[in-house]
Structures are given as structure tokens and as C-alpha cells.
Amino acid sequence: MAGGSKGRVLVAMSGGVDSSVTAGLLVDQGYDVVGATMKLFCHGDEVPDRPCCSLDSINDARRVCDTLGVPHYVLNMESAFGRDVVDDFVREYARGRTPIPCVRCNTFTKFRDLVHKADAIGAGWVATGHYARMIGGALHRGVDAAKDQSYFLWGIDRGVLSRLLLPIGELTKAETRARARAMGLRVVADKVESQDICFVPDGDHARVIAARLGGDAPALAPGNFVRADGTVVGRHDGFARYTVGQRRGLPGGFREPMFVTEIRAASREVVIGPRAELLGRGVIARELRWLVDAPRVGEHVELQVRHRASPARAEIVRIEGDEIELALDEPVAAIAPGQSLVLYRGDLVLGGGVIEGARRALPVLAA
């Protein structure tokens, strides 16, 4: 338990390769590393008196810390995660939107609640295994463009940035795995990466919604597929199973490929249309948060409306309170309410918000 000279860092460890290498790199860099695995949810609700789950990943994280010679703790953050992340996830789907729970987990669970734990143990630093970089106190994209996770980090408190360490943002995924092997972390080096939302392990988000809202929730009840003009073209089995931009599971018999273009929760309608109807010329987002000094209306920025999308150029046309509107230089497809809008300047993350909707026509600069 030799304390590192660079101060104490609380590392969020999932038991995966990225956060394990994060901890290892920080040990090598001379930090006093403390590992913590957050227990966020439980699949074992049906087993009373046995509230434990995701034990394997917790055990892997513990073994990694043991190999690295640093302490490891398991933090029970189930109730706050349930409130801040899972409840919101369900609420958003019930409104016909497509939430990103990872964004709220970063905003509330990792970079607020976990930071409070860091405070309590006198850790000036917090670290995660995100593929993003801190440069001069500002958040940047990770070096590995294919892995870049900066899109999920726009919501964190700006005040936390100065305490944040993201060492694997400098690496590619392949390099991370190589580092894991070099560090002797065989437990995690070749782990298969999960693409699922952690609390929806089989990808069946409707089951999570049903568990919280009941199987007869309106979001899971049958409704109509309609065209934009209201023409009924089929029946669906619950709008929460659909996302703007989705092609799978739509009625056939059209000349062009059809996409979900809108979800009308109030009437339980899923609107479908050809690609042209999926394009937006403007985007509106709320819950706006800046990680740098706020840009001004009229400024040009780059933006992303979903993870792994290529950045699009846009002009800020309006900022009012926590709401922003941008005009896109080129139309962007599948702007889905509930997803994140993240603004960039090159690799620098400026900030972001939660997409409220798209504008089919080009918005006009107010001033």
C-alpha cells in the first residue's frame, strides 16, 4: 500500500480490460491508486435475501487490484443508480424517446456520486477507463477514433474536469489489450467486450420497462404504424420497441426502404417514412451543459447526434436557458429525441444536451 507521489486517485473499475489498464497505468505513473467497483443493479431481485449480482466482474476487478497491489472496494450504488439512471431510462422510453443511460450514469453516478466517495477518502483524482482524453483540463476525444467515448461524457460537472484522469484515451483498444497482457492482467486482457447496456444484459430493454411499469404499460401496448400524414399502414407491439432511424420490424410492401421517423407517444403511433423524411436540417437539445466557456450564438461548431456518427458542421442559432438550437450545414439523418447532442471543436468537447427534436426545415438565426 505504498502511497504514490502524485496523490490518491479513485479508479472506477468494472472488471473489464479498459478500467483495469487504467488502474495499472496510474500505478505506473506514480499515483496512489484505490480501485472501486460500483454495484449498480441487481438481476437477482427474484431471489429474496440474496441481493448480489454481477459477481464475476466484481471478482475480476478485485483480482486485478490484487495483482496491481492496490486496495479494491465494492460500492453499493444501487438505489441512486436506480433513481438517476434506470428510472429515467424507463420514463424516457415511456415518452417515446431513446435514452442513453450511460450518459446519465457518467453525469450522476460516476462523476457525482463516485466523486463524493473520492472526497471522503481524500482522493483528489478520479479516473475511469473511458476512451477520451484530458488535455489542459479540457475533455477531448480519445486517440482511437473507432473507440472514442467522449460522446458519453458531455454531462459531467465542469468542476470535476480538473480532477479527472483518463489515461487510456491515449491508447487504441489493441494497445490497451497489449498493456493488460504486459501488466500480467490475464483475467481481463482478452475479455469480450459487451455492447449491451449494463442493466439490460440481453438487449431486451422492453423487459426492463415491463418490470418497472408493468407489462400493460402504454409504451408496450399495440398501436398503429402510420405515415407522416396519419395514414395507418400496420400494427406494432409497443412503441418503446422502436427508435427513430430503425428499419428492423417495420411493415413491408413499400417501394423504398422505410425507417421510423417519429414516435408519437400520446397516440401510440410509430411514424414511418423513406430516408428523405428522416433527415433533419436543425436540431434542438435541452439540459444543456458546457465543459468550456459557452460559445456564442452564430458560432460554427461540429456536432454528433449519436455515438460513432461522423461529426456534422452546424451553426448555433439559439441558446435560451438550458436549451440550444443549431442549424446543420448538411442534413443529418435519424436525429432521435433522448439521444445526446454533443458539440465539438476538433477533438475538444464543448458540451452537450439531450436531443429534444429535429427541424425538417433549416432554422434561421434569430438575430
Binding site: 500500500m1 490518491r8 484505490v34 472501486a36 454495484k39 429474496p48 435475501d49 440474496r50 441481493p51 448480489c52 449480482c53 454481477s54 459477481l55 466484481i58 478485485r62 486496495p71 472496494y73 465494492v74 460500492l75 453499493n76 457525482r112 466523486v115 463524493h116 466517495k117 472526497d119 471522503a120 477518502i121 481524500g122 460537472d157 465542469r158 468542476g159
Partner: protein, 398 residues
């Protein structure tokens, strides 16, 4: 892991204790050339059988029981299961109910739930805000439908002592059997089964300096229970399976030492515990000691510091080499909300702040003084840090 014990302060004796040297010395021959099976007829078997009988006698002696009333188990959990389920299975036709309390160890609570799952009825007595089972309420629940009453002697999270003699008398008066989980009481409070109205009692080895994996159950002569396991005739059929002679011997040795040292050690630990509590309360005036006004054993304290969750404080303590615990841990090693404090009506945010420190053989005066100084210092640091964090968060929201 600790390299030298003196650098680290172990304050979790209610979780487990190191094996005492005398105990280790006493058990080692049975892991060596005295390896026989007590059921064998040859010299090796005879030797093991004599040793096992001696162990049983010595445990009986330590409890004020008769030799045939002692049954060795794998530990406290098995003893609790065997006592409650064993008694209930035997009597359920006429007496379908069990009575217990909400502050029991999970080994008892989950067993009572099992009774309910098997078609019985579980009745849960109230506890006072001080963490003591309400005797009048327990008495109210005990009637001719009750097979067995199970009330712990000493609560493992906060150290409160329950009025087992009175509840036992009430059980007896209504024809119910009285079981008590004495895992945290044995070696800590005076306990003589020759005079107590108790029919079944559980103890554990590793809380008193024996290894993990051994415990014992007292079954009063004449009380019939159904076994949980099925097999040979070992232990009068109550607990089939080849007996663990080495561990039974360890249990016997540890039990005798615990009884011998009890008064002196409890007085020593009580003085240190009180000193620790007073130091914390003086430095952190809003700290809450759970069960403070109730009769308590001398070696356990449960303290909540408002605004600092137990996880954070336990991490901070551990990083300074001080090992304490929250009330109950789950399998992952994370802290789960305490059912004991919840039953006492403690508000959730205070309950999730509760840190249990339990003193024992490794608790020197010097160690406790160090903790008395460091605990408040860590509280101050956590408060200052989180105060700053709250401030910056508030600014960010403006």
C-alpha cells in the same frame, strides 16, 4: 495484505477472529497422525472417538450443558438452521408457527422465511428504537400454535443484549421451544444452560478463536428435532457425516478459553470501547451510537456520522489500516442497508452511515487510542472535502 500486524488495526472481531495459538496447538495433532474416523472400530478410530467425546464434554462444560446435549455443526448458520427447521419440522402438524425478531442474523431470518415457504407461519416481534426485542410483543405472539421461538442473545450489528430468559420463560409457558442464536453472546455474557429456559442454542467457533467451519448446537435433553442432512448415525443421527475431530477439538479449546477469560476480557474491552465512543462523540457531537441506552455487550459499537455514508468511512479507515465493517455485508463485499437499524426505525440516511467496530483479542489500548484520534480526523476530512464539492456543484448549477 498486512505485512506486519502492528501496522494495522483490526476492529472487526464480530465478523471473525484469528485462531488462538492454544487452539491451533490443540487441533494440529488431529490434522497429523491422530487422523482417524471416530466411527471406525480400530485404534485410529478409537483414538478419534475418544478425542471427539472429550471435545463434546468440554463444550458442554463451557455451556453448563450435558454431553449428549451438544451437537457439532459447520458453524452458526448451520446450527440456526438445524435448530429452527429441525424443531419446526418435528412439530409443525400441531404448531405451524415460529416467532422471531427483525434484528436476527440472516441465518435465522432466512430460516424463518423458509418455514413460511414450507407452509408455516412466521411471526416477527417488534423491537424498541434502542434495538431490544419488545418482550411484551414477543409474549403476545407466542401461543399454542408456535413450535419454536428464536431470539438472538446479542445482536451482531449493535451489540444489544436481548432478554432471552424472559422470552424463554414465556415460550416454555406456552409449550413452545426456545432457541437463541448465541453466536455473539458466548464468551461475552454469562451463560449457564443448566438454569436457563432455553431448549436450543447456537454457537460458532470462529468468533472465539477457533477456525471457520465449526460451530455447535445445544439441544436440551428430551427435545426432538428432525435432521437437515441424511446419512449415517453420527451425533445420534442429528447431524450425519464424519465428524471433524480437529475442529471439534478446536471448538472445545476455544470455548473453554472464552469462558475462562470472559469477565476480565469483557471488562477490558468495555473500558476501551467506551473510551472510543466518548472520544468520537466528543469530537463529532452529532455522531449517533446505536443502542446506546440499551444493555449492550462491551466489545461492539455501531456509530453513524450524519452525511458520511458507511462505505466512504470504511474505505477511509481501511486506507489507514483500520478494519471495521458496516452492519451487514453482501456476497459481493458491498454494504447493504442494515435490516437491524431499519427495524429500529433509524432513518435510512443514518442507517446507511452506520459503521460497526468490534473489539477483541487484537485490540490493544494503543490501537484503540489511535482509532479514537483517527476516526474523527477522517470524518473531518470527508466533511471538508464534500463541503467543497457541494459548493462547487452549487456554483455549477447557478
Amino acid at each position: 495484505m498486512p505485512q506486519t500486524a502492528s501496522d494495522f488495526i483490526y476492529l472487526d472481531h464480530a465478523a471473525t477472529t484469528p485462531v488462538r495459538q492454544e487452539v491451533l496447538d490443540a487441533m494440529l495433532p488431529f490434522l497429523g497422525n491422530r487422523f482417524g474416523n471416530p466411527s471406525s472400530m480400530h485404534r485410529w478410530g478409537r483414538d478419534a472417538r475418544v478425542a471427539l467425546d472429550e471435545a463434546r464434554e468440554r463444550v458442554a462444560g463451557a455451556l453448563g450443558a450435558r454431553v449428549d446435549e451438544i451437537c457439532f455443526t459447520s458453524g452458526g448458520t448451520e446450527a440456526d438452521n438445524l435448530a429452527i427447521l429441525g424443531a419446526w419440522h418435528r412439530r409443525r402438524a400441531e404448531r405451524p408457527a415460529v416467532v422471531t425478531s427483525p434484528i436476527e442474523h440472516k441465518a435465522v431470518l432466512a430460516t424463518a422465511h423458509q418455514v413460511a415457504r414450507e407452509g408455516g407461519e412466521e411471526r416477527i416481534a417488534c423491537v424498541t428504537p434502542d434495538g431490544v426485542v419488545d418482550v411484551a410483543d414477543a409474549e403476545r405472539l407466542i401461543d399454542e400454535k408456535v413450535a419454536v421461538v428464536s431470539i438472538m442473545w446479542v445482536n451482531n450489528e449493535i451489540g444489544t443484549v436481548q432478554d432471552v430468559p424472559r422470552i424463554g420463560a414465556a415460550a416454555r409457558a406456552r409449550g413452545a421451544l426456545m432457541h437463541t442464536d448465541a453466536v455473539q453472546a458466548f464468551g461475552k455474557v454469562a451463560l449457564d444452560l443448566s438454569t436457563l429456559p432455553v431448549d436450543l442454542l447456537s454457537i460458532s467457533g470462529h468468533k472465539i478463536g477457533a477456525p471457520k467451519g465449526i460451530g455447535a448446537m445445544f439441544v436440551r435433553r428430551g427435545v426432538q428435532i428432525e435432521p437437515l442432512f441424511h446419512g449415517g448415525a453420527q451425533d445420534r443421527g442429528r447431524r450425519p457425516g464424519t465428524e471433524n475431530v480437529a475442529y471439534a477439538f478446536a471448538q472445545a479449546t476455544a470455548a473453554e478459553l472464552a469462558v475462562r477469560d470472559r469477565e476480565k476480557e469483557q471488562a477490558r474491552l468495555r473500558a476501551l470501547r467506551d473510551e472510543l465512543e466518548n472520544a468520537i462523540l466528543a469530537a463529532v457531537p452529532d455522531a449517533i451510537v446505536h443502542g446506546l441506552k440499551a444493555p449492550r455487550v462491551g466489545h461492539i459499537t455501531s456509530v453513524s456520522v450524519p452525511g458520511i455514508d458507511a462505505e466512504s468511512l470504511l474505505m477511509a479507515l481501511d486506507l489507514e489500516g483500520i478494519g471495521a465493517s458496516a452492519g451487514s455485508a453482501c456476497q459481493s463485499g458491498s454494504v447493504s442497508p442494515s435490516h437491524v437499524l431499519a427495524a429500529m426505525g433509524v432513518r435510512p440516511e443514518i442507517a446507511t452511515a452506520a459503521v460497526r467496530m468490534s473489539l477483541g483479542s487484537l485490540s490493544s489500548e494503543e490501537a484503540i487510542r489511535h482509532v479514537a484520534e483517527r476516526f474523527p480526523a477522517l470524518v473531518r476530512r470527508a466533511r471538508d472535502f464534500s463541503g467543497l464539492a457541494a459548493e462547487s456543484a452549487a456554483l455549477a448549477q447557478v
